[in-house]
């Protein structure tokens, strides 16, 4: 009788464990993250904490997901009074200015996951798509702006942090680099680039 109870306990434990492991097999992930950007260009160089992204991932295989991300960031920097000349040096303008870049990347994503179990599920991948960017310079009571779309590539690494075996919520920690072809003839910039770090929460099923 005692042995029978032991067997039933073991079978029950195994069933629970297997179902828990099956629960870890992800199908979909919905995420919302806060993103900090570090621009590398000449137009703005000050880091921004005013960024974020929403994303969706669908796991086509245990280690592979495809999905989409919509992000945004606001870069801003004050530049003291200075003289700027045009290229043939026939015109000049002197002013201080508040520079501003609003970026809105929209990408299709591919991620590969190095493992599926455990507290941390590291991954690497890339997002490719388009980016809307608005470059603006405010001076005195005036504004000069230049807006447009460009191609963007977002290579990135990160990890999902499991908050419990059966908990559908997971943290997402990630770092990456944005390279976009958003150019501005007005401000003489050829592209827009920035590194970024992000921290987010996701829900999976």
């Amino acid at each position: 009788m005692m042995n029978m109870k032991k067997v039933i306990s073991i079978v029950a434990f195994m069933c629970i464990t297997v179902s828990a492991l099956q629960a870890q097999r992800l199908h979909n992930l919905y995420g919302l993250s806060w993103e900090v950007g570090f621009p590398t260009g000449d137009f703005v160089s000050k880091p921004s904490i005013l960024g974020g992204k929403v994303e969706y991932r669908h796991f086509v295989k245990e280690h592979i997901s495809v999905g989409a991300t919509l992000g945004w960031n606001n870069f801003e920097e004050y530049v003291p009074r200075k003289t700027y000349e045009n290229q043939d040096q026939t015109s000049a303008i002197t002013t201080d200015n508040q520079r501003f870049v609003f970026s809105l990347p929209i990408t299709g994503d591919f991620f590969y996951y190095f493992g599926t179990h455990g507290k941390f599920v590291p991954y690497a991948g890339i997002g490719l798509g388009g980016q809307y960017a608005a470059h603006k310079a405010y001076y005195n009571i005036y504004v000069t702006d230049d807006k447009g779309w460009g191609f963007i590539a977002r290579p990135q690494i990160g990890t999902l942090v499991n908050l419990g075996v059966t908990n559908p919520a997971k943290l997402i920690l990630a770092a990456g680099y944005n390279y976009s072809t958003n150019k501005s003839d007005v401000f003489r910039t050829e592209n827009f680039q920035n590194f970024w770090l992000s921290l987010g929460i996701s829900f999976t099923n």
Partner: protein, 210 residues
């Protein structure tokens, strides 16, 4: 499909609204100083200049005044003379046929926030036309394409090549500078900002010298 389209539009609208309003509190009230010159002008070939002690005035606030005179005008024009003299040019009276003719215009526009094409002020109602002592010439301005969002005040100084006007049948503006920005309610502050702006205009135009 309709749901996806509706949801997508909603998300995109929400994201576009994530654009922050910029913090402009640090911006200075000093005038924005812009200048432009003719690529072909040889500034060292001119010797004399004339600038009137009165400043043409253009405004949309129903004032009948078309010129500015008195201490404010004398201070502003005096600074232009100081700078021109320091660059090696000599002031002469207008009948003495100066090589360069400088014209000053102050524009005050209230409640305007319109993007104007380059040189918009030439077509502005009340902007002084140009017929000189020796006749009328079609003015030519060497401005590159630029866009200004105009709001409250501008001070413009145009410098014309008078020496070659008759032979070219063309009164060419070879240099102009423009001071732009929000105006103070205090005249003394506006005069000080204008004088500072004139100094900056000469500083950023080192080619203006005898």
């Amino acid at each position: 499909m309709k749901k996806i389209f509706f949801f997508g539009t909603l998300v995109l609208s929400a994201l576009f609204s994530c654009e922050k309003q910029p913090d402009t509190s640090r911006l200075s009230n000093a005038f924005v100083v812009s200048s432009t010159r003719s690529k072909d002008a040889q500034f060292s070939t001119y010797t004399t200049y004339f600038v009137s002690d009165t400043i043409a005035r253009v405004s949309n606030n129903n004032s009948n005044d078309t010129i500015i005179t008195g201490p404010a005008a004398l201070t502003i024009v005096g600074e232009i003379k100081n700078q021109m003299n320091a660059r090696g040019y000599r002031f002469v009276a207008r009948p003495a046929r100066p090589d360069l003719l400088m014209r000053t215009i102050a524009i005050r526009q209230v409640n305007a926030a319109v993007i104007y094409p380059p040189g918009w002020w030439w077509g502005y109602p009340g902007y002084p036309g140009f017929c000189d002592f020796w006749g009328c010439y079609p003015p030519f301005y060497p401005l590159p394409p630029q866009v200004y969002k105009y709001s409250v005040g501008d001070f413009i100084t145009e410098t014309f090549d008078l020496r070659n006007a008759e032979s070219n049948n063309n009164l060419q503006a070879i240099w102009l500078f423009q001071l732009s920005g929000v105006l103070s309610s205090t005249e003394a502050t506006n005069v000080t900002r204008t004088v500072d702006g004139i100094k900056q205009a000469f500083e950023q135009s080192p080619y203006v010298k005898k």
